[in-house]
Amino acid sequence: MERYYAGIDIGSTMTKAVIVGETIVASVIGPTGPEHRKLADKVMEKALNQAGLRFEDVTYIVSTGYGRVNVPFADRQVTEITCHAKGLHSLLPTVKTIIDIGGQDSKGIKIDGGKVTSFVMNDKCAAGTGRFLEVIAETLGVPLEKLGEVSLSAESPAAISNTCTVFAEHEVINKLSTGEKITNLVAGVHDAVATRVYALVKKLNVEPDIAITGGGAKNVGLVKALEGKFGCALLVPPEPLITGALGAALVGKERYEHALGSGQTLTRSGQGLQEARLFS
């Protein structure tokens, strides 16, 4: 009988769920926004429906992401660092360095055969994260999902010198008022984010192949700017938002099978599908 393992990744702006058997049988990306964060159970429910499974059919569930401790129906919590490494390695096994650009933080992870060897995180400053791009997109009136595309038509990226998001927003408004083109401003903003991320990730002994995950990976302008900094093409997984949840499912699978191999059985938490705690 095939066993199924689920991973649920509660990020700062997205909730993702993946179920794996021999392959990925379901993946769901939940809605954004603070009011939805506690609805991890709904995202999980959608994933179960997609796979045609019942909650009881899942052998083991691992939660990850910043909200991992708040998922009552998870059997184990594992950090997003470990899960990104595991998930990405399963998709792109040649990758040795991962850049993850999420809504509220960015990370660099060095891996060797799926095992984390070192990592760095920017968790104190919005510059270098998706939040920076969100703020600027709003200021310029460009839809977030179009931001990357707009940057590609820039003639000459504008220099954005402020690393603080609030002051960078002010700087963008000033430049806009002096007649700078939106395309150049958007490209300049991508360059500023890429510069911050590059400085962060370079603290690791970066080795190719390099992959990018998280919401930042969906922004073609940011990917291009980062490729310019790193001097090589970045690999982008087919769905860069789910690597953490996929990794969580795979960690669960590995743990369960390892326990079986040692003559033990990991038991489920016994909790049914419930809302995530402490978000309201």
Partner: protein, 443 residues
């Protein structure tokens, strides 16, 4: 108003006594003023302890005061004071915290600012600075302080040691550095004599040098008891038990303290009583001063099954026989040799491992001696002396020693605005998972 903080539980009774020790040092400066004794602003690990003690000068330690302010989460008012006078937020926050305190006291006509943690420090009669032994901000810190305490005389001595060069035999240069250091120490003696009106008692000084050497030996013997598995004391405690060796060197109190700690650790080892019940991971605190406002993070490591049986930070002593000091009866020369050799005695070992450096060699020695599974560095942004080299050390360590899990934490010694508890704990979680994965795969 001070923010709330989690209490840290300590593994040893000796560590629990340290608050009284620190408080005693601070109140001693206030009492000294009442008794007409001279008080000097002093700076740690500068080779000047025995001279001050021999001249009955009471040291007021800015680094200790700033640490107390940070631990009580009550430093911001002093940092802001200094910042308002254009001191950059990225300068050493030990310095800016105490300068802010000094500024405020001068504004109050010499009265201690209200609600100063543990009563604050006394206004000094002199400032005895030293640079280069430990960190470069201490060149300018005493001078910047004098900007506000203009009637207070300043002495800044320099205790250099040969720089690391893998292609050069530093032993050929050591005597020159010792000669220079001795001359600086003699200058300090003259400075102290001038400002205390007393003559140096050279026999007393020699006796205090003997006491310091005895204390160094006992300190290392005591800390080596932590090699036991499970370890009876970890870095969370050592950030307390470092006080006597750091701030009370050349006093009987310091020696007696380590005698008590030694007895306690022997007893704990006999009972196999570790810091935690189930010691799963042994880590080395590889470099960096801690965030004094977040010492509870050591508890967080402990809760994950991790202990720190050793640390580089504040292990500022060595077995005297290991330093192989030349014989001399001159107490100043003995101090100079001891400190120069303290910094250079890893050079020979580092030279034997191509690509290594003395700092990395020291880390490797502790990893092996204390059977550590990973290394944690703390990059305190305002402590340039540690902060700047940490990534380089981590890279060299991996290159010359091999693949070992390394965590670089980020924060500051005093400035709490640099710290985010949730994210720090997230990093620790990820690191522990990494160490666990290494151990499971037998790396």
């Amino acid at each position: 108003m001070a923010e709330g903080k989690k209490p840290r539980s300590l593994a040893t009774q000796a560590a629990a006594k340290i608050a009284k020790f620190v408080r005693g040092n601070m109140s001693a400066t206030l009492k000294a003023k009442e008794e007409g004794k001279k008080v000097a602003y002093a700076y740690i690990n500068d080779g000047q302890d025995e001279i001050m003690r021999a001249m009955d000068i009471v040291p007021a330690w800015g680094e200790s005061f700033a640490g107390v302010c940070a631990a009580k989460r009550d430093a911001e008012k002093y940092l802001q004071k200094a910042e308002a006078d254009n001191f950059s937020r990225s300068l050493c926050t030990y310095a800016t915290c105490t300068i802010g305190f000094d500024m405020w006291r001068e504004e109050l006509g010499g009265q201690t600012p209200p609600d100063a943690p543990w009563g604050g420090m006394a206004r000094p009669d002199m400032i005895i600075g030293s640079a280069q032994q430990l960190c470069d901000p201490r060149f300018k810190w005493p001078q910047a302080t004098q900007h506000y305490l203009q009637d207070v005389p300043v002495f800044v001595g320099n205790m250099y040691y040969p720089p690391w060069d893998p292609n050069r035999n530093h032993h050929e240069q050591e005597a020159i550095y010792v000669k220079y250091a001795k001359a600086e120490l003699l200058e300090l003696v003259r400075f102290c004599e001038k400002h205390t009106g007393k003559k140096m008692d050279w026999d007393r000084l020699a006796g205090l040098v003997d006491l310091t050497e005895k204390t160094w030996n006992l300190f290392i013997d005591t800390y080596e008891l932590r090699k036991a598995i499970p370890t009876p004391m970890d870095t969370g405690d050592a950030m307390n038990t470092m006080v006597p060796i750091t701030f009370n060197l050349a006093t009987q109190d310091a020696y007696d303290y380590y005698k008590d700690l030694n007895d306690e650790l022997i007893l704990k080892n006999e009972k196999k009583q570790g810091v935690i019940e189930n010691e799963k991971y042994r880590l080395l605190w590889g470099a960096g001063l801690p965030s004094w406002f977040a010492l509870g993070d050591f508890q967080y490591f402990n809760d994950k099954g991790a202990v720190f049986p050793a640390e580089v930070t504040y292990r500022n002593a060595e077995k005297i026989e290991r330093l192989d000091l030349p014989a001399t009866n001159d107490p100043l020369e003995r101090i100079a040799w001891r400190w120069v050799r303290f910094w250079t005695h890893w050079y020979d070992k580092a030279r034997k491992r191509p690509g290594s450096s003395p700092k990395v060699e020291r880390i490797i020695e502790y990893i092996e001696d204390y059977k550590c599974d990973g290394v944690v560095f703390h990059s305190a942004f305002s402590c340039r002396s540690w902060h700047a080299g940490i990534i380089h050390q981590a890279e060299i360590l991996r290159k010359v020693y091999g693949d070992i899990p390394i965590l670089i934490m980020e924060g500051d010694i005093v400035d709490i605005s640099s710290y985010n508890e949730v994210d720090t704990h997230n990093r620790i979680d990820a690191f522990i998972e990494t160490v666990d994965a290494y151990k499971r795969k037998g790396n």
